[in-house]
Symmetry: D2
Subunit: 301 residues, 4 copies
């Protein structure tokens, strides 16, 4: 951490800040510039007080971190990419994985009808867990536990799915920065579960022609910063069925390990998210068109 001091403070005040840093368990290094004096605080941060509390002092201008606040997820700690295995399917390997289905379960018949599309691609079942107490039940009947965008900072729930060990699909919140996203992943990893898949699904911006702004930049940024698999949800991310195909191709082209796509036999009757769902015929066409894109970037589908 870098502690930037206010201008014009006395030597005694610099000493006071250094003394506090030492008491908190870190080593202070003072650097005097022409206008500003800074103190670099060196030391492992885990298990020690948060240096940002020093911002509450009247002599401190700001406290700036110099390293990413996550370790287990970091590619600096683990160079090779992680793979998550689910029922014989590998997410994060050479092949791009596609998960498809309706947003809500509506009837038995519908599940069977959509399963036809899924059968051809051989994909696992993802179920969202909304509350800590239902984690075990959902884990029993599902291949992947999804943490929805609204629960990205529900740390009780993150810890619980971390303890369960089942693959977790972690969706970025609509106002979650990439750094906060990785901190939430770190929370699951540190509870003992290495099977975390990150999912970009759109952020909220001033642009209203799409439901959210699907942030594909997040794909290469996440692949650079961490070793976890990254998938993209262009259906929720854009909110319009006719944008799903081009953004799915773009996701694969910039390095996504997988896609989550809403498919519904009769979108205009869907219980939720109809306007962003593909009909099965259009989904099948997208699958045909995606394959050459995946191959163009050295991957299979």
């Amino acid at each position: 951490m870098i502690i930037v001091l206010k201008s014009g403070i006395s030597d005694a005040e610099v000493d006071d800040v250094c003394r506090r840093i030492t008491e908190m368990g870190y080593g202070p290094h003072v650097i005097r510039g022409e206008f500003k004096t800074i103190v670099a605080a060196v030391g492992e941060e885990r298990g020690r007080p948060d240096l940002r509390l020093l911002e509450a002092l009247e002599t401190v201008d700001s406290v700036m971190p110099v390293q990413q606040p996550f370790k287990l997820a970091s590619r600096e700690v683990r160079r090779e990419s992680s793979e998550v295995r689910i029922n014989g399917v590998t997410v994060g390997g050479r092949d791009v994985v596609v998960m498809a289905g309706p947003c809500s379960v509506e009837s038995e018949a519908q599940v069977l009808e959509v399963a036809e599309a899924r059968k051809r691609t051989g994909l696992p079942v993802v179920t969202e867990v909304l509350e800590t107490e239902s984690v075990e039940l959902v884990a029993e009947y599902s291949d992947i536990l999804q943490i929805g965008a609204r629960n990205i900072q529900n740390f009780t729930l993150l810890r619980r799915v971390g303890e369960i060990g089942k693959p977790v699909l972690l969706k970025r919140g609509m106002a979650t920065s990439i750094q906060e996203f990785l901190l939430s992943a770190e929370y699951i990893l540190s509870a003992g579960n290495p099977n975390v898949i990150l999912c970009e699904r759109g952020i909220r911006t001033f642009e209203t022609s799409t439901r959210f702004t699907l942030d594909l930049n997040a794909v290469p940024v996440l692949k650079k910063l961490c070793h976890l698999p990254v998938v993209v949800d262009p259906s929720h991310g854009t909110g319009h069925w006719d944008l799903v195909a081009p953004m799915a191709k773009a996701s694969v082209a910039c390095g996504a390990d997988g896609l989550i796509i809403e498919v519904h036999p009769r979108p205009e009757e869907a219980l939720s998210d109809g306007p962003q769902s593909l009909k099965p015929s259009k989904f099948a066409q997208l699958m045909r068109e995606l394959r050459p894109v995946a191959e163009a970037v050295g991957r299979g589908l």
Copy 2:
């Protein structure tokens, strides 16, 4: 709802959209402009299918609502402002109410120390409820149930606090639009609890010199659209203790019914949110400075 059709569609296609609107229980009115044909769908929306599903049709360009999607909270339905009474304190009445205290409970001694500040202003206890199953326990020991910014769209939790009937402090999420904020309030009201207090606490924008962008525009907008009391949290909203006093005064000046302010005897040792906490002496000074501002807009403190 206004259903905007795509250009160049045939009369038979217009008829098909009208037939669907009728089947969904609404009355269609076709208006043909020079370039666009629109269909206005008239009828009560509660208990009928959502017309926005029509966006999934290839003949429909977009579906636009013409009225606010909330009723119970609306000032069009109830002209006079609502008041919420807590232990003899009225929120939403003539006097501006100030709630103060530390963000986290840290020790028994600290609670007693801060209680001194609170004793002089005579304020109720607010406790955040994080999970549906703890609502009843928290309701037993607390005067106000707080729904935090992260749970603004946790509809299970909103319904539960709606059933309990105890006063609810509903905090706006950092990516929640004012319309979505009022929809969440509507959810609590429709479960039978009229005692809802809205709290503006900052939204996420590109500006980084403050932790969030405290959106004071929300105060007069909310007072215009709904009849519920509106309070402001300038501590979380700005993230810096030295911005709390000016933004607290601004909140009162633009019509806020109350304030929530972080106070901590030793901010640099706080378990959380130290940099945004006021010391008790600065809080006492703010109280002295707030009174004339409240009086300038015709209110007491």
Copy 3:
């Protein structure tokens, strides 16, 4: 336009609004819903007063447009895609076009050095025009006139490049909505210049791990709404050289007609934008990797 009236207004007040609409040259159609009365105003908007002024009336709640405010750029008016021809190169045709070079001209030697990279790809010269009075001079020595992101709403400049007729590369501003972007293009088209190329180059959001948030959703949205060619600038859009290659591939995959890429022989000595510039060797590698992506979506390079 749909004029939404306030609740509880009298018949005389509705008549007053209709009278004003008629006086402005439009035909009013009143639709009475259960809670709201709306008036649809029908008629060509060009050359008539802006109906949004009615929002200044105390009886009017809001005024909502039902059609896009641009015509010449609209795909509803012109179905087939436009092509812009520059020195034998076609932007908007089957082949994806790549424009490359340094952001600023630094020396004669550097221009020659970078020209080597350009020679192999055979690309035209783009020069930004900053002021209305320099449009003619720049037009004389340049193949394409660039309107930078900061001038996207400089209507004097837009009109001037519209009158000149030379191809224009119009860069989206960092806070420009897609609708506003198309309105700026409409301004150039209506001055008589059909040779407009749209360029997505990143919008400002809360995310700080990239310099801007390159909004690739804009590519298919623009291709759906208008008939103009769309190119992407992943260098300015991301601000980091190591994100340029993946986002360039994604741009092509979602339908971009071209790319603008910063190339600099010694990025660490660049006068501007060094951190986002590719070295010539990395640029050559990107060109090799882009070709199969273009072919995967049915295009050449």
Copy 4:
């Protein structure tokens, strides 16, 4: 500047970075932490190469500034607040100054009609300069030169109004951070003109119930960071006439030195910005209500 190096780089690579820093004219100080090595570069930045270029190196993770990039505007350099005097009116002094009038000049009669409102408050004339070549002409007939939000980074124009010396009203752009805003002010100051007034007028966010999000937090943040007067434009900032009065009061309460308010005798016929204009009677009422708010924070009107 703090140069954060990538993990796992060799001593020779650290030496290479230090050598480059020395060549650029700064003094390097290496600090080795448990996971990260950083180099603090000490020295005056004016007239030397920008250290952020080092981000183009593959061994550098990021470059972080530790001091504000503006000097002349900084309150650290000049403690006392600046005052700008215009025709006997002082902006930045004890009294809050109100500037009022229509957004566009529409006719001679209208100018005379609105002048009545202005006469009672005794206010100077503000005119926007749109192009560099018209600066001198506008300066001749106007008391204050306004730089509009769209020109906030038009550095040619900023330099020109800096050379003229006449008071400048600098409006924040809708996507301009506070730091960038102060950099633009610095540009005018460094051209020799100390008479700069900053104006907050709303930023673009995801919230659509107001035209922009008027960011009142900017007022105390600017007053903390710099010594220049700060005024607020609640008319453009909110876009709705009925939000002008509450936000004007809030502006004064949080420390604004002045207000700019749109007034129009017949808003529904205004050439531009009618929906946000106050009628003269409502403006007169606002003036009466503002006085006690100004007095409550120790100021006059």
